[in-house]
Amino acid sequence: MSMPLFLGQTITSSAEALEKGEMTSQELTHAYLGQIRGLNGSLNAYISVFDEQAMEQAKASDTRRASGQTLGPLDGVPIAIKDNILVQGTRTTAGSKILEQYIAVHDATVIRKLKAAGAVILGKTNLDEFAMGSSTERSAYGPTKNPHDVERIPGGTSGGSACAVAADMCVAALGSDTGGSIRQPAAMCGVVGLKPTYGRVSRSGLIAHASSFDQIGPLTKTVEDAGIVLEAMMGSDPRDQTTVDAPPLQRGNAKGLQGVTIGLPKEAWGAGMMDGVRQDVMEGVEVLKSLGAEVKEVSLPYTDEALAVYYVLGPCEISANLSRFDGIRYGTRVEGNNLIETYLHSRGQGLGEEVRRRIMLGTYALSKGYYDAYYRQANKVRTLIRRAYQDAFKEVDVLLTPTAPSTAWKIGEKISDPLMMYLEDVFTVGINVAGVPAISVPCGSHEGLPVGMQLIGNLFEEGTLLDIASAFEKANA
C-alpha cells in the first residue's frame, strides 16, 4: 500500500479507518511523520518533532485496539501541539530564546486529557514568541510560511498549528488564543479554529501570556473535528481556578438553520476591510440565509475601544506574567557583574523585540501615576464591552464578522509597524475581552488566499457555534 492513502485524514475519517482495520495508528503516524520530514524544511511549522515517542504512542494505541479497548475517536490519531503547551519530558520553548533549553516538568491538563483519549503527539508547533504577534514572524526559531503561498505569513500566533493542519502535516492541532491567535491563523490558512469560552478549558500547563484572556482550543480540518477535540479537553480543573463546571456542549440539528438569528455588528463592517474579504464573507452570509437563518444588523459598540482595552490590559498582565523569566527562576542566565545586571542581561538578551515592547508598555501602564488612567479605566471599559455583548445576545443567537480584515500578507510587510500589526486583531480581540466563544470557518478565497468567517456565541454556547458552522460548512462544500 502506498503512503498517501494514509494522509489527508480528518479525526472522523481516521477514527473510521482505524475502526474498520483499513490502517493502523502506526501506519497513519508513520505517514504523518514522513509528511513532516518532507514539508517542514520549507514551511517551518514544527519546532520539535517526536518521531520515537509518537511511534510508541501509536503502537500502544494499536495494541489497545487489538484487545478491544479503544478509548474513543481520538485513539491513535496523530495531532500537533503549539509549543507553549507543556508535554512532560520534552522541550517547550514558547518560541523564545530564553526557554531554548526548558524541559517541561509535567503535562498540561489538556495534554493529560488528550493522552488519556489515546491521541498520538507528533510534535510542537511554531508560534510568535510567548504567543505575542499576529504573523508567526516573531519566533526565535524563524517564521512559519503559509502553505498557500510560502512568501506569506500563516497568521499568528498559532501559525505553526494552522500551517500544519492546512498542509496536512497532522490530523488536527492545538493552539492558544489570547486575542485571536487561533482564529486569525485558521482564517489565513483556510482551516477551522475554535476559541472556547473563558473558563471552558483548563490553562494549567499553558505558558501564560495574559491570564484574563488566554484560552486553549483546536485547529482542525472540519467543524466536527473541532467539537471532538473540545469535548476531549474541556471541563473544570483544580489546577486552573478559572475553569467552571460548564454545561456539556448542546448539539442540535446541524442541517437547517430555521429559527436561528444572526447579527452583523454594524461597527465591525465599516471601513478598514479588504474588499475581497467583505465580498467572501457577505456571500457566506447569503449561504446562511439560504439555510433558513434570519440575518439582521445589530449594534455592538466599543469595537475600537476593545482593541485599546486589549493593548492596555494585555501588556499589564504580560509584564507581571513574564517577570519569572529572569535567568534566576526560569530561562537561560546571562551573568552580569551583580544580580541586577544578571536580570537585565538575561531578560534583555533572552526576550525578543515584541515581548520587550509589551513588557515596557505594561510596566508604563501599571506605574505610579498612570495606573488609574490606564489599567483601572481599561478594566471599567471591559465591563461596558461585556455588557454590550450580553445586550447583543438578547437580540440574536450569534454574531458574525470576518475573522480578519485582510488575507495573509507578505512576510516582513508589517513587521516594522507594531500599531499596524495590532490593528489586524480588531475583529478578534473583543471576543477575548468579553470572554465569549468564537469559531473561524473557511468561507472562500480572494486571489488564491483563504478568507475566514467568524461566528461569535454567548458564554458556553460553543454547541450553537458548532451547529451553525457545521451547517455552513456542509452547504458551502
Partner: protein, 100 residues
Amino acid sequence: MSHLSTQDIDRLAELARLSLEKEEKEKLRSELGLILGYVDRLQKVDTAGVLEGSMLPRLDLRADESLATNASVRERILVNFPDRMGDALRVPAVFEKPKG
C-alpha cells in the same frame, strides 16, 4: 499624557529589568508614544459608576483543596535550573562583589 521622555524610557527599562540598546530605547519612545496615542481613546469613554471588570465571566470561584505535591517532580524541576551544584541552586550574590 502619551509623550514619553528619554528619562521615562530609562526608568521603565530599569523597572522592567530589561537591558536595552540606546537605539532600541529611542525606537520604543516613538512606538510606545503611537500605541499610547491609540489607547488614549479609552479616556473618552464615560465610565462613571461602572465597576472594574473582573477577569472572570463568573465570580463564584471554587475553594479547591490544595493538591498533594508529588516528590518525584523534584529532579525534573531542578534540571531546568540555569546553574546548580549537586542539589544546591547557585544564584548570584545579592550584594555586589567586593572591588579589586
